[in-house]
Every structure is written in structure tokens, then in C-alpha cells.
């Protein structure tokens, strides 16, 4: 035919001829193709010639029978699908199997048909905006099979039933499930979503809602959490095996909501197994499980965090306000440390070191540590204990570790200046009695405080160290000087020269020193004032100690390690065997309470009773008399006679320290106000309070009322004035 048209392109007959042939040709050719389609659906494709069919289909399009061919295709395929639908509906065995088999038949057939109709696919379909052949096949399948009322409900029910069975622990044919869901996704994600996913999610929601209701009644928190975790993992696994991956976030959201979110409050507060028992019992794994699950739902972590924080505050508050605990400051701080350690561990191990949890932990500690206003004192006492005890085998590293830990608590303190006060007192005692574990450790601690709070905080503490150092040099100088040269038969003396101001202020209670000592003291004084002009020396007799050699009744010799006061008392017995309390008091001039304590430790402690008291009793009264106890025996050559010391501050002492701290704060607050006002010139009251608080909170938390009082005082002293127009504004007066 093409030859003809080439030879005579202008000949009309040829055209006529073709038009004439048209109806017959189309019918005939379509019959061939339709037959082939039928054969393909009947699994009889082997006898067909692809080439011939392709040519026919090609010609159909070429001769403008594309529409005919397309419509024919639609009706033929539809017919086959109707048949298939019937077969599926009446499937005797497995419905899903049958559906799947038919599906694979259909797709295979459609592939072949598409190949045959390829020319139409390429030319006719795009120009006429029709659906491509294969896609058409899918659409027809969707419309006639999937959307058929009888099949769709059954299909969905079957799928859901299978899934339900699997959830109940049965093994199902996952391959089949996978093929069927794949079929649905191939028909378009909207088909998958509308036909299957929606009901899947609904059914899952009601399933898990029921299950969780049931479990929460019988399971404890830990088991429930594990169940929920398992369920979520199962769902994820299910999706990966035979559902569309886009379903994963949806189904997990459903499970999370039903299993976790709905019950989270109940879970957290579950008696005997909720969050608090887990925290108390250090159940790291359960806590981790809870964290991971609750992380999935909105405000889940906040719930854990809040409950943890309030539990912390509660237990912390109990701890710091328990009067029993206050008896032993070291134990008190140790408990706080242990508590922090414990929760730190939990946060690291179970809560992924979550910053929000760390912050909650810190906030809670800050809250309850500052409830007890003795915390600064106790922390200092704890450090004191650590730096003293170090001698007992603990290495520097250990001490350092303890100090690092205690520093964490220190950071929580709002009244760091109170701590400084106590630290100074305790450090003074350690330095003067040379009981410090090592200078290195002491300096280490100071360095830590310095990095924490700045130079100002520690300058006086460092001054104390320097005093001790210089004193050593001074003593060397003294013994090498003419003053100290001829002292062979006199008591040896060690003087520590303390700079006023650097050391905690002590009420000076001078006592009358024994004559032997006074001579040496005078010598030293002469030497010192000779080398340092214009200084003044005052003897702090309440802080020293002395070693005495004593010979007892049977000639046994002991070295007695005593305080300066005790030395003064004992030296009196060189010239007398029996002295009354009043005689001693008169001869030494030691303040009453101190004298009583020192006599008590000399006469009333078993094994160290170098004096004998008349009458025998535990307490010292002012009518007692004391005798030298020549029957004293001890296995040790060196006998250390301690003084009954009140380590913890007594109530009046505490009040005094508090008052001193308050006094010290006043100039600091005023300085801060002036600093702020100098830079701002004009500022309203509340801003001043905020800024001053900010400036000072590294050291302490100033009370707004105190700030206000300081402002009033500054107004009175004409550093500030109120603005004439707006009385809430303050103006800095240069």
C-alpha cells in the first residue's frame, strides 16, 4: 500500500480505496487483537505471534482506529476482570491467595498487552490524553476488583484479621500479606491509604486502647513499659515486613498515643512501681525504657522531669530539715553528695544525659540546699573533715575528687559569703594546729574556689597561707639571731604571725602565761619588732598548743601534747600539788568557759587524766580542787590531750556569724548600687534591684528589702536622689 501511494501521491482512488476498506479492516484487525487478549488472559499466549499482533495494533492506530482499539481494550479487560472478580468472590480456599493469584495474572497479562499496544501507548494515548495501557489495567482492577463492594470489605477484613492474629502471637503468611499490600500501593498510595491504612489505624487504635486498659490494671509499671516498647517495636517490624514504609510514623503514633500518652500519668504515679520507686531503686533499665517511650509523646519527658524534680525537692527538703541529720554535718553533706551522685548516675545512664533533666536536678538541689541556712557551714565543715582526715591513707587524688564533688554543692549555695566566713574559720584552725592534710590539697581547694568565685573571694584565704609561710621564715630568722641564740635551756617556741584582717576575728582572751614562756615571748617580741618597725603584736593564746615533758609517780616520763591554756594550768602544778578552781582561775586568767573545758579534759577523761579532781565527778564546778595525779599511767609515751571542742557552731555563735555576714553585705550592696547607678545615671527602683541582684548573686542573694534600705541610706547620704517628676526613678548624684 505504501508503494502505491508513493508512486501516485496525487491519485484520489487510492484514498477512496482505503476508506472503503476501513470498516472491515478495523473489525477484522480488532478481532485478532481481542482474541489475542483473551488468549493472554487464558494463559495461552504461547501460540501468539508478537510481531503480527504488534503490526496489527500499529496499523489500527495508523489508520485512525486508535479510539476503537482503546475502547475495545477497556471493554475486553473489564470483561476479564468481571470474571476474575467472580472467581475471587467465590474462592473456596484462601480468598487472599486467590486475589493475589488473579492480581499477578492480571499484571502479567497487562504487561504483555502493553507490549502489544506499545505504539498506541506512545502516540495515540498522549495526544488524546488517555490513560496509558498498563495504568489503565491497574485502574480497571481498582475499580472492578478492589472497589467492588463484596471484595473490598472482605479484603480489608482479611488483612486486618491476619494482622490481629499476628498481634496475638500466631504466625501468618507474611509473603502473601506483603504481595497484597504491595498491590494496593501499586494501585496508588491513595488506594492503599483509603482502602487499607485508614481502617488499619482505626482498628489498631481500638486494639491497643483495649489492650492497654487491660494491661494497666494488671501489670506493674515496669512490665507495662516493656510491653509497650515491645509492641512499638513489633509494629515497626511489621511495617518493614509487609506494609508501606509511610505507614510507620502513623502506626507508631497510634500505638504511642494509646499505650503511652493515655496512660502516662497513671504510669508515672503508679504505686510501688511508678517513677518514684524506680528512682529510689536505681532501676536504670526501667527508667531508660520509660524515658525512651515517653520521649515519643508530647510533654512525656516534661512529666518525668517534673515528677523527678518534685520528688527530689521533697526528699531533699526532708533531708535538710531533719533535725537528726543536723547533728552530724559531715554525714549531712555526704548524704547530699550521695543523693546528687545517685541522680547524676540515673540521668547519665537512663536519661541520655538530657540537659533538661540536668537542669531540673540542679534547680531542685539549689532549692532545698538553701532551705537550710546552715548548709554553707556544713559544706565548709565537710571540706574541713576531708582536708584533715586525708592523713589516714587517702591520696591527694582522692581528696581532690572529694573536693570536686563538694564544689558542685557549693555552686548551689546562694549565700556563698557565709560559706567564705566559715571556711576562713575552719581553715584558720587547720593551719594553726598544722592539721591540714597537705598544703597542696589546701591550695587546690583555694584555686577551685578562685575559679568559681573570682579573686576577691579567696584573697584573704591566700593571705592566711602567706602568713604561715612567712612565720616559718621568721622563726628561722629568730633562732639564728642573737635573740634566739642562747635558748638552749629554755622552752622552744614557734610563733605564727597573723595579719589582722586576713584571719577570722577572734575575741582576744589573753591569759597569764607561765613565767618561763613569758621570757621567750618577750625575746621574740624584741626580735620581731626590731626587724619590723611600727608593728604591734598581740598574743592569741586561745589558739596555740604545746608539748610538755612530765614525770609521774613511779618515774615514768610522758610527753603531753596540750593546748596553750592547758599548758598554763599544768605549769602551775610545778610548784603546787593541790590547787582550787579559783586559784587556777586567778593564776591564769583564762576565761571561765574555756578554763572549765580545759580542766575537764585534763581531769575527767579516762586514760588522759593527768590531774585528779576533788570531788570526783564529770562536770567541773567552781568549788572543785585539783591535784597532780602521780598515779597516771599510759601505754603511750606521747599523750595527746584534746580539748573538748565544740566543732559545730553553737546557737549564739551562729547568730553572731549571721550578723557579721549581714553587716558585711551592706557595703557590698551599696557598692553594687553605686556601680549600677554610676553607669545608668537614672534608673527605676525595680531595675536597680534586678541589676544589683545579678551583680551579687555569685556571692549571695541580696534581700530586696535590704537593697531598698541601702538605697534609702544612699539617698540620705546624697549619693542618690529621687526624680522630682517621677518618684520611682532614682538619679545618681555625681
Amino acid at each position: 500500500m505504501s508503494g502505491q501511494s508513493k508512486k501516485k501521491p496525487f491519485k484520489i482512488e487510492a484514498y477512496k480505496h482505503r476508506v472503503e476498506v476501513d470498516p472491515k479492516y478495523a473489525d477484522r484487525t480488532w478481532a485478532v487483537i481481542e482474541h489475542a487478549i483473551n488468549e493472554i488472559y487464558n494463559h495461552n499466549a504461547s501460540g501468539l505471534s508478537f510481531e503480527e499482533l504488534y503490526r496489527n495494533a500499529y496499523n489500527m492506530v495508523l489508520y485512525k482506529f486508535g479510539e476503537r482499539q482503546y475502547n475495545g481494550l477497556v471493554s475486553t479487560v473489564t470483561r476479564h476482570l468481571r470474571d476474575m472478580g467472580k472467581a475471587i468472590e467465590s474462592a473456596q480456599g484462601s480468598f487472599l491467595d486467590e486475589l493475589n493469584r488473579k492480581w499477578s495474572d492480571h499484571t502479567k497479562s497487562m504487561q504483555m498487552i502493553r507490549d502489544v499496544l506499545m505504539y498506541m501507548d506512545r502516540t495515540y494515548i498522549p495526544t488524546n490524553h488517555k490513560t496509558p495501557v498498563y495504568e489503565l489495567g491497574l485502574n480497571l482492577w481498582r475499580d472492578h476488583i478492589i472497589h467492588s463492594a463484596k471484595i473490598q470489605t472482605r479484603l480489608v477484613d482479611m488483612l486486618l484479621e491476619q494482622i490481629h492474629r499476628e498481634r496475638m502471637g500466631e504466625v501468618i503468611n507474611r509473603g502473601l500479606m506483603r504481595s497484597v499490600t504491595k498491590m494496593l500501593t501499586e494501585l496508588g498510595s491513595s488506594v492503599y491509604q483509603e482502602v487499607f491504612e485508614k481502617s488499619f489505624l482505626d482498628v489498631s487504635a481500638s486494639f491497643y486502647s483495649g489492650e492497654s486498659q487491660q494491661y494497666i490494671e494488671v501489670y506493674n509499671c515496669s512490665n507495662y513499659l516493656r510491653m509497650a516498647e515491645k509492641r512499638i517495636n513489633e509494629e515497626v517490624e511489621r511495617v518493614s515486613h509487609y506494609l508501606d514504609s509511610k505507614t510507620e510514623p502513623k502506626i507508631t503514633a497510634v500505638v504511642e498515643k494509646e499505650l503511652v500518652e493515655t496512660h502516662m500519668h497513671r504510669l508515672v504515679h503508679m504505686e510501688n512501681s511508678g517513677l518514684i520507686p524506680m528512682l529510689v531503686g536505681n532501676m536504670y533499665e526501667d527508667l531508660n525504657c520509660m524515658y525512651n517511650l515517653f520521649k515519643r509523646v508530647p510533654s512525656g519527658l516534661n512529666l518525668i522531669k517534673d515528677v523527678m524534680a518534685s520528688h527530689l525537692k521533697e526528699t531533699g527538703k526532708q533531708l535538710v530539715t531533719d533535725p537528726d541529720r543536723l547533728k552530724d554535718p559531715v554525714d549531712f553533706i555526704q548524704r547530699l553528695l550521695d543523693m546528687r551522685e545517685k541522680y547524676n548516675e540515673i540521668i547519665t545512664k537512663s536519661f541520655h544525659n538530657d540537659k533538661a533533666f540536668q537542669n531540673a536536678l540542679n534547680a531542685s538541689f539549689e532549692y532545698f540546699i538553701n532551705i537550710n541556712n546552715r548548709s554553707p557551714e556544713f559544706i565548709s565543715l565537710f571540706v574541713d573533715d576531708a582536708l584533715r582526715k586525708g592523713v589516714k591513707g587517702a591520696s591527694d587524688d582522692d581528696v581532690d575528687q572529694v573536693l570536686d564533688r563538694v564544689l558542685v554543692l557549693f555552686r548551689y549555695l546562694q549565700e556563698k559569703d557565709v560559706f567564705e566566713k566559715y571556711y576562713k574559720q575552719h581553715l584558720a584552725k587547720r593551719l594553726l594546729s598544722a592539721k591540714s592534710v597537705s598544703e597542696e590539697a589546701e591550695r587546690g581547694m583555694i584555686l577551685k574556689l578562685k575559679t568559681e568565685c573570682g579573686y576577691q573571694f579567696t584573697s584573704k584565704l591566700e593571705g592566711m597561707f602567706n602568713d604561715i609561710k612567712t612565720s616559718q621564715d621568721t622563726m628561722l630568722g629568730f633562732y639564728n639571731s642573737p635573740y634566739g641564740n642562747d635558748m638552749a635551756d629554755m622552752p622552744a617556741i614557734t610563733v605564727q604571725i597573723l595579719t589582722t584582717g586576713s584571719w577570722p576575728t577572734q575575741n582576744i582572751n589573753t591569759c597569764i602565761l607561765p613565767a618561763e614562756i613569758v621570757i621567750v615571748c618577750e625575746k621574740f617580741k624584741a626580735y620581731y619588732l626590731g626587724t619590723h618597725n611600727g608593728r604591734r603584736l598581740t598574743w592569741q593564746t586561745n589558739m596555740g598548743h604545746a608539748d610538755l615533758k612530765a614525770t609521774f609517780g613511779k618515774g615514768q616520763k610522758h610527753e603531753l601534747n596540750v593546748s596553750t591554756y592547758q599548758m598554763c594550768v599544768l605549769m602551775l602544778f610545778n610548784s603546787a600539788d593541790r590547787l582550787t578552781y579559783r586559784e587556777i582561775e586567778q593564776a591564769t586568767d583564762i576565761p571561765g568557759p574555756d578554763l572549765k573545758r580545759c580542766l575537764q579534759s585534763l581531769a575527767c577523761v579516762r586514760g588522759k587524766n593527768v590531774l585528779r579532781k576533788e570531788p570526783m565527778s564529770r562536770d567541773i564546778s567552781e568549788d572543785d580542787a585539783f591535784l597532780f595525779n602521780d598515779k597516771f599511767t599510759s601505754k603511750l609515751v606521747k599523750v595527746k590531750i584534746g580539748t573538748v571542742v565544740a566543732q559545730k557552731e553553737t546557737e549564739p555563735e551562729k547568730m553572731e556569724t549571721r550578723q557579721r555576714v549581714e553587716e558585711d553585705r551592706k557595703p557590698q550592696i551599696e557598692a553594687a548600687i553605686v556601680r549600677v547607678m554610676k553607669s545608668r545615671r537614672v534608673l527605676d527602683h525595680n531595675s536597680i534591684v534586678t541589676e544589683v541582684t545579678n551583680q551579687l548573686q555569685a556571692r549571695f542573694l541580696p534581700n530586696p528589702v535590704v537593697i531598698k534600705k541601702r538605697i534609702e541610706s544612699l539617698i540620705e547620704r546624697e549619693f542618690l536622689e529621687r526624680d522630682k517628676a517621677d518618684r520611682r526613678l532614682y538619679r545618681y548624684m555625681a
Binding site: 527602683h685 528589702v705 531598698k708 540620705e716 518618684r727
Partner: protein, 194 residues
């Protein structure tokens, strides 16, 4: 009679001098002139203290319904109540002066005086004195109009807190309440000299 008039014109004289100095608005000069003025008053006062009487006499002669005039007068009262070059005035003096100048101007005057009498041990500073006038103008009888963040002097804060407490106690014991607080304020009055 003669003496009285001379006194009266005297206080007039001082008041107008004071007003002149204040209105000059030259801080360094002002301070100096004020202290000079005060010293001269102090000298005259040495024989007999008539300050409070002077104030009473001065009041009817001034147009105190004018706020700015009253302000000036109020500050002036603090000024002449100062003694021996002190910057603040003694509590008893402040109380007497308040009773005279704020009479009928401050609804809580009695309660205030009673409170100050009982709780204030230190002298009254100029700031507290001045702020009380502002306070008296903005506060209502039920303590409304008081803003705890309003930068009031501590004494005023304490006063409000004290009042709240008395009201609370009064609220508890219902009927007795009013009598109680009123009788309290009056007993405060009786203690005052003059």
C-alpha cells in the same frame, strides 16, 4: 501679744526665705543658704522651742488648698523640724508635725502615727517624710492604690503590711474588728506630748 506677732512674722519670714532659696534652683548655693538659714533658726530656737506652734500659726495664713504651695510648705516643715544640723528628724517630732500638717489630708493618719510610734526607732529621713505625702495622696482607706513595687520607703511598705495584718485579724474576729483597730489608733494618740 507683741511677742506673738513678732514670732508669727518671724516664721513667715523664714518660710518665704525658704521658698526663695528653693525656687532658685541652684543646688550648690541652695544647700549652703539652707544650712545658713537653719543655723539662724537653731540659734533663735535655743531659748524656747516653738517650732510646732509656729507651724500652727503659719498654716492659716497660707493658701494650702493649692497643691504646689502645700508641697513647699510640707517640705518646709521637715526643714524647720531639723535640729542641730541633722539631716533627719526625731520620731516624736515627726509625729507631732504630721498630726498638724496632714490633718484631714491623709485618711490613714492615725493608723500611720500609731504604727510609727510603735515600730520606728530611728529618725525619720527626708525621703521618708517626702514620700509619705505622695503616699497619702495615692493610697485609699482600704490600702488600694498602693503598689508594692512602687519604690516606697521601707517604713511605708512595713506600714502597709502591718495594716494588712490588722485587717486580716479583724476579718477573723469579724465584729470586734473595727472597734479594735480604732481603739488602737486612739490609744496611740494619747501618748503624744501636747
Amino acid at each position: 501679744m507683741e511677742c506673738l506677732r513678732s514670732n508669727c512674722s518671724d516664721i513667715f519670714d523664714v518660710f518665704y526665705k525658704y521658698c526663695d532659696i528653693i525656687s532658685e534652683r541652684n543646688p550648690s548655693n541652695m544647700k549652703e543658704s539652707l544650712s545658713l538659714l537653719l543655723r539662724s533658726i537653731d540659734e533663735r530656737r535655743r531659748a524656747r522651742d516653738t517650732t510646732l506652734g509656729d507651724i500652727v500659726r503659719l498654716m492659716p495664713c497660707l493658701n494650702l488648698s493649692d497643691d504646689s504651695q502645700f508641697n513647699c510648705f510640707y517640705d518646709f516643715v521637715f526643714f524647720i523640724c531639723r535640729e542641730n544640723g541633722q539631716k533627719s528628724i526625731a520620731v516624736h517630732r515627726a509625729l507631732s508635725a504630721w498630726k498638724i500638717v496632714l490633718h484631714g489630708r491623709f485618711r490613714l493618719l492615725d493608723q500611720w502615727c500609731d504604727f510609727v510610734q510603735k515600730h520606728q526607732k530611728h529618725n525619720i529621713s527626708e525621703d521618708t517624710w517626702q514620700q509619705l505625702l505622695a503616699f497619702s495622696r495615692c493610697v485609699r482607706e482600704d490600702l488600694g492604690g498602693y503598689d508594692p513595687k512602687g519604690a516606697w520607703p521601707v517604713l511605708i511598705d512595713d506600714f502597709v503590711e502591718h495594716m494588712h495584718r490588722t485587717i486580716e485579724i479583724a476579718g477573723c474576729s469579724e465584729n470586734k474588728s473595727m472597734c479594735c483597730s480604732i481603739s488602737n489608733t486612739f490609744s496611740g494618740l494619747n501618748l503624744l506630748p501636747g
